[in-house]
């Protein structure tokens, strides 16, 4: 059974601005955020049937809810993230403690190698893709490739609104790729086209992309995505996926959605 690591939004809010979506003036409706988060958990546990691991939230770390950035987990090995911004660097120790406390072999990269976990490293079973330039450092990927014996194709993120790879790129269990091409330059688009056949590319329109349609959680033939992305749902349904749309707009104020709120644990 798929296990996901999550962190309840007890202390979620906007306390700083580190991406174009965050505005200190755009206050989070905390009660609504908590409801939306529980709505997502309900869908994941009851409709999709995944097992949820809950971290203990920490006061003063509003973004700890975005567990996708805890690190990357393969088997019993966890590489803990090194965040670009000091505001999130304080989360590193908590994620590391959780992994080591749960029996994972914890690996840390050299101090100067910024790597923001599953937010910037996604892929299929044989080939992974690494988003860089906005947050993660491209030089982290050769180390991860070496550690996990996987090919990692680096993709430059050229639009600051799509600052993590998981905001514009979502590999699906059937080998299709849901993504927003304009978030990549022509080199990246070509590299993607070389790895994913045309018939398997599901191109998300801009309206949906800006609602973080690609920030979806795919488990088996279920895809959980933020509500308000009907075109993307149709694309997915045409490929036989069952879509579950969940209102998550309170988290979009912080630049995160369904995928950002979860971390796949093998």
């Amino acid at each position: 059974m798929t296990r996901l690591l999550v962190c309840p939004p007890d202390f979620f809010g906007i306390e700083y601005e580190i991406n174009p979506w965050m505005r200190l003036s755009n206050r989070v409706d905390h009660e609504r955020a908590v409801q939306q988060w529980h709505g997502l958990m309900r869908v994941l546990e009851q409709d999709v049937g995944v097992e949820i691991e809950r971290m203990t939230p920490i006061a003063g770390l509003p973004d700890l809810v975005f567990t996708a950035n805890a690190g990357i987990v393969v088997g019993r090995t966890a590489v803990v993230s090194r965040f670009r911004y000091p505001e999130r660097q304080r989360e590193e120790a908590y994620f590391e403690n959780w992994f080591s406390g749960h029996g994972y072999n914890v690996v840390t990269l050299e101090k100067e190698l910024i790597f923001e976990g599953a937010g910037d490293l996604l892929g299929f079973s044989d080939c992974w893709f690494g988003g860089y330039r906005q947050r993660s450092d491209i030089r982290a990927f050769p180390h991860l490739s070496d550690l996990f014996h996987r090919e990692i194709i680096p993709l430059e993120l050229v639009d600051s609104r799509f600052y993590h790879l998981d905001t514009c790129f979502c590999p699906l269990s059937g080998g299709e790729l849901l993504y927003f091409p304009s978030a990549f330059d022509p080199y990246g688009q070509t590299a993607i086209a070389q790895r994913v056949q045309k018939g398997r590319q599901l191109l998300v329109p801009e309206d949906d992309a800006l609602k973080f349609a690609c920030n979806a959680v795919c488990v088996g033939n279920h895809v959980v995505l933020p509500s308000g992305c009907p075109a993307t749902e149709r694309l997915l349904q045409a490929k036989g996926y069952r879509t579950h749309s969940v209102p998550l707009d309170e988290f979009m104020k912080s630049g995160g959605s369904a995928k950002c709120l979860t971390l796949a644990l093998d």
């Binding site: 044989d126 080939c127 860089y132 330039r133 491209i138 030089r139 990927f141 050769p142 490739s145 070496d146 014996h149 996987r150 090919e151 990692i152 194709i153 680096p154 993709l155 430059e156 330059d185 080199y187 990246g188 070509t190 590299a191 070389q194 790895r195």
Partner: protein, 414 residues
């Protein structure tokens, strides 16, 4: 050195991701150039690839901009090491594993700074003066016990020639040698360079000297008048030759023959074979070629023009020389040193009708000096190219025709 360069390393899945292509595109788009070194392409999807890229730019500022632009894509500056030096074990002997030079611009890294190797020449060692942060190429014979000599390849870099901005025959810097190539445009380009260099030489600019290294075939073939004219008109500033060119040139003035053949009549004259010996004997009696000219014994020709125009003549002897003439340096190591000392400041080299002098001079010239090698025998320019003087333009033609055409293009009325 006008070129600024830095070596960067990039690794990972850089091929299929087009990251390497992107980095190279960025370098070119920003106005830099690059050489790809040590490209290793992973043999499986899993195996990473890596590349070493030497980046060059016209200024430090541009180089810095390029490095800043490619750094986010994973290209990191290679950490260079200083060069290693070892003391020469004895006079005239390099330490084992000494670095052997090419004739290309070369730099060594000393105290974390790249410095130029002065007086670069092929097949020498590099002498380091660490106290003064200086380095120069040094021949084996000149090394002294205790001299610090560069060993190994670490901390040494060779800078390939930039394509010159002039779009003439030298712009290609490739020594294609063929008797079938048309000569005219090559000689026209040489003439244009010489006209330019004479002007620069008169104004006292650096690297404006024209060197001619020639053999006696210039006299036999009838190129004496044209070369004399070129010297008189100030187009040639340095002459390398042997005993024979000087002897036959003065024989022609004193007897009207070249190795006994009447230059005008075109046939052997009675006892003509003695003429060059009598010439050499006469000059030996006078004491020097210069005295023979200033005293009026020798009046016309190449040697006379050189004396009158103050053109430095370096005569290197060979084992079969008659005499030799006063001034001929019979110790070949000394002759080589004398030629070497005269090379700085040369902006164009003409190697005409002499295998030994052409190859010897080619060995001494840095690759940055445009060079023309003229010989009826295609093996001479070929030999020069094979020995590393790839910048030499080869012209397979008769010396007299070359010199006459060159002089005509420079204004000599025929």
């Amino acid at each position: 050195m006008s070129l600024h360069q830095e070596t960067v390393l990039i690794s990972g899945h850089i091929i299929d991701s087009l990251i390497l292509a992107k980095v190279l595109d960025i370098i070119l788009m920003m106005g830099g150039t690059f050489d790809l070194e040590d490209v290793h392409i992973g043999t499986t999807r899993e195996e990473p690839s890596r590349a070493r890229i030497v980046i060059r730019a016209a200024s430090t500022a541009l180089l810095d901009d390029i490095l800043k632009a490619i750094q986010p894509h994973g290209a990191s500056v290679e950490r260079d090491a200083d060069c290693r030096t070892v003391e020469a074990p004895a006079d005239g002997i390099f330490p084992d594993d000494f670095y052997a030079t090419t004739h290309l611009p070369t730099q060594i890294r000393l105290h974390e700074q790249w410095i130029d190797v002065d007086r670069i020449e092929m097949d020498l060692g590099v002498l380091v003066d660490a106290r003064n942060s200086a380095a120069r190429a040094i021949p084996m014979a000149e090394v002294r016990q205790g001299d610090r000599i560069v060993v190994g390849r670490e901390g040494v870099r060779v800078i390939p020639l930039q394509r010159p901005s002039e779009r003439d025959v030298f712009g290609f810097m490739e020594s294609q040698v063929s008797s079938e190539r048309p000569h005219h445009h090559i000689i026209t380009d040489v003439a244009a360079r010489m006209r330019q260099l004479r002007e620069r030489h008169r104004q006292g600019h650096a690297d404006s000297k024209v060197l001619l290294a020639g053999g006696p075939a210039i006299i036999h073939a009838g190129g004496r008048d044209a070369l004399t004219w070129l010297i008189e008109e100030g187009f040639v500033h340095l002459l390398f030759c042997g005993n024979a060119l000087a002897a036959h040139d003065m024989e022609a003035d004193l007897y009207g023959t070249s190795l006994g053949y009447g230059l005008a009549a075109g046939r052997a004259v009675p006892h003509g074979h003695e003429h060059h010996l009598r010439t050499i004997n006469k000059i030996r009696a006078i004491g020097s070629i210069e005295a023979a000219v200033t005293s009026g014994v020798v009046q016309q020709g190449i040697m006379a023009a050189c004396v009158r125009q103050n053109v430095l003549v370096i005569m290197a002897g060979t084992i079969r020389d008659d005499g030799p003439l006063p001034g001929v340096i019979t110790d070949s190591v000394r002759a080589q040193s004398a030629m070497r000392a005269a090379i700085p400041g040369v902006g164009l080299a003409l190697l005409v009708a002499s295998t030994l002098h052409a190859v010897a001079t080619g060995n001494l010239l840095p690759a940055t000096v445009p060079t023309v090698c003229v010989d009826v025998n295609p093996s001479v320019p070929t030999k020069l190219a094979d020995r590393g003087s790839f910048q030499a333009v080869g012209l397979v033609m008769d010396a007299a025709s070359f010199l006459s055409e060159l002089a005509r293009l420079l204004g000599r009325s025929s």
